[in-house]
Amino acid sequence: MNEKKKLIIGLSIAFGGAFVHGMSWVLVRKGTSDYASPIAGTAVSLFFGMLMLTIIAMMQPDVHLIQKRKEVGFLMLSGACIGVAMTASFYALSLAPVVVIAPIQSSYPLFTALVSHFFRLEKVTSRLVIGTILVVVGIVFITIGRGS
């Protein structure tokens, strides 16, 4: 595949991913106001996600997981964090508009970078500091501007 074609496909998929992600927030907002409580909605959406991921994982199974206990442990911790994150997200979207909640939730790469620094996986750079300041300023603006 030539580079130009690869770029077009990659950009299309990236924009598609951003669109889909944005749409999921709107679906949650509508769902938690019309169909179910945030905790019930979270449980159902995770369950259906799990069903689909099971089908996909069965196509490319991984063996010898017992020998990768440490990695399995980390993934289990990630699962616990995702469960908490999704529950908090659904509650947030049930209480406030998407236009307020979505930008704040999308700041998670900042916390990934900060925690990565704590685990010594990444260094603090000037771009990280600038990015942190911009995110914090953004959250402050949104908090002040909510509902006004």
């Binding site: 019930a40 991921l53 998407v98 953004g138």
Partner: protein, 143 residues
């Protein structure tokens, strides 16, 4: 104006998503992404499912078909389509090019929310959104 509680929930969600991403990175060193995603989500289902059963048992067992369909769609859209879109876009064009685009999801969310569910936005929220997106661009390209 509504309370600050949803803002706190949103920040908490961002923190836990951020921490989860680090654990995923550590976990996928020797495990395939498809299997890793499954291990992770099984724990999420067990944790949240148990909480939902304890707190909202009656609601959970009496969910209507439209509710199941709606949130089932959310689950598939977010956990499968969204996840693999990120994965494949990084594979095709790399994280440096794809991260800022993927990070523009709030703009799509805002536009879709205005179009489909009639939300309104003021200049403070717009400035805040742009600031956050710019901030995430700097963070994503800080390596």
């Amino acid at each position: 104006m509504y309370s600050i509680l949803p803002i706190i929930f949103a920040i908490a969600a961002a923190i836990f998503w951020g921490v989860a991403a680090v654990f995923v990175r550590l976990g996928l060193k020797r495990i395939k992404p498809q299997v890793g995603a499954l291990i992770s989500i099984v724990i999420s289902v067990l944790l949240v499912g148990l909480l939902a059963l304890i707190l909202n048992f009656e609601e959970l067992v009496s969910l209507t078909f439209p509710a199941l369909l709606w949130f089932g769609l959310v689950g598939i859209v977010y956990h499968v389509i969204g996840r693999y879109a990120s994965f494949f876009s990084i594979q095709y064009i790399g994280a440096v090019k794809s991260s800022p685009i993927l990070g523009s999801a709030p703009l799509f969310a805002t536009a879709l929310a205005i179009i489909f569910i009639g939300e309104e936005v003021n200049y403070l929220v717009i400035i805040g959104t742009v600031s956050i997106i710019a901030g995430i661009y700097f963070v994503s390209t800080s390596k």
